[in-house]
């Protein structure tokens, strides 16, 4: 007998933490993980809604989110490796040439 809003608030909290992590962390990898955390939070909300409406499409969306996350991780990590190879550092603040 858990109110649905609990799940939603939980997902909101996780999302917020993800945002904070994204803003606070300096290691590219951790920032990437924060993004994954946000995705997970959203997934939780999806599943909760899918339960509430007794509709499976929500879970299908989660499935897609996970797939996309997998692809994103593959490419993102490759990029990270490349950045590390050129910069010899994972600190995102050292990768700030793309301006002006």
């Amino acid at each position: 007998m858990v109110p649905l809003s609990y799940y939603l608030v939980l997902s909101a909290i996780l999302f917020g933490l993800g945002v904070v992590g994204f803003l606070l962390k300096r290691s590219v990898i951790t920032i990437f993980m924060s993004i994954e955390l946000m995705l997970n939070a959203v997934n939780l909300a999806f599943v909760a809604f899918s339960y509430h409406w007794q509709a499976l499409s929500g879970q299908v969306f989660v499935f897609f989110v996970i797939v996309v996350a997998a692809a994103e991780a593959a490419v993102g990590l490759a990029i990270i490796i490349l950045v590390f190879r050129t910069r010899a550092s994972l600190n995102v603040e050292r990768v700030n040439l793309m301006k002006w």
Binding site: M1, V2, P3, L4, S5, Y6, Y7, V9, L10, A12, I13, L14, F15, G16, L17, V19, V20, G21, L23, L24, K25, R26, I29, M33, S34, E36, L37, N40, N43, L44, V47, A48, S50, Y51, H52, Q54, L56, Q59, V60, V62, F63, F64, I66, V67, V68, A69, A70, A71, A73, A74, V75, L77, A78, I80, I81, L82, L90, N91, E93, R94
Partner: protein, 166 residues
């Protein structure tokens, strides 16, 4: 206190703790582990919500593949503790308070926006694997195929990016 509530609070608490730890830890591997913890907890919550398939996928793909990739990369680059630099003032002085606001607002909204009546009982299970598959291959056939294409492209991109010399 009924079992589901207990389980919810246990796993929800675990998830929140893991997320907090992810933010607080300074070593990538610890963050990764706490993220895995979050994912496991979420998988349990999915089970509570009756989404068995999603739970399994969550563990297999997220915890079992994606995070392994993260850990693998961390090992490969032998990433140490992150250094303390603060070059982006915006992130600190604008981002954090706003993020807090955002969190508060979203939480408040989701709490207010949802009627009290909406509750989760353990027995109203849905999400047997069969129907999901059927849905995937009928209504969502096109997106499904698209994701496969996306994956293929991602693989190619990863290979091209990670090659030592092109």
């Amino acid at each position: 206190m009924p079992a589901e509530t207990v389980l919810f609070f246990v796993f929800g608490g675990l998830a929140v703790l893991g997320a907090l730890n992810l933010v607080l830890q300074r070593h990538p591997i610890h963050s990764a582990l706490s993220l895995i913890l979050v994912m496991a907890a979420l998988a349990a919550l999915y089970l509570l919500l009756g989404a068995e398939f999603i739970a399994a996928i969550q563990v297999i793909v997220y915890a079992g593949a994606i995070m392994v990739l993260f850990v693998f990369v961390i090992m490969l680059l032998n990433a140490g503790e992150e250094e303390r630099t603060s070059m982006s003032r915006a992130a600190r002085y604008v981002g954090l308070p706003v993020a807090g606001l955002l969190l508060a607002e979203v939480g408040y909204l989701l709490y207010r926006a949802w009627p009290e009546g909406a509750v989760v009982e353990a027995d109203k299970f849905l999400g047997r694997t069969g129907p999901i598959g059927r849905l995937l291959f009928t209504d969502f056939a096109l997106p499904f195929e698209l994701t496969s294409v996306l994956i293929l492209i991602a693989v190619l991109g990863a290979v091209v990016l990670a090659k030592k010399e092109l």
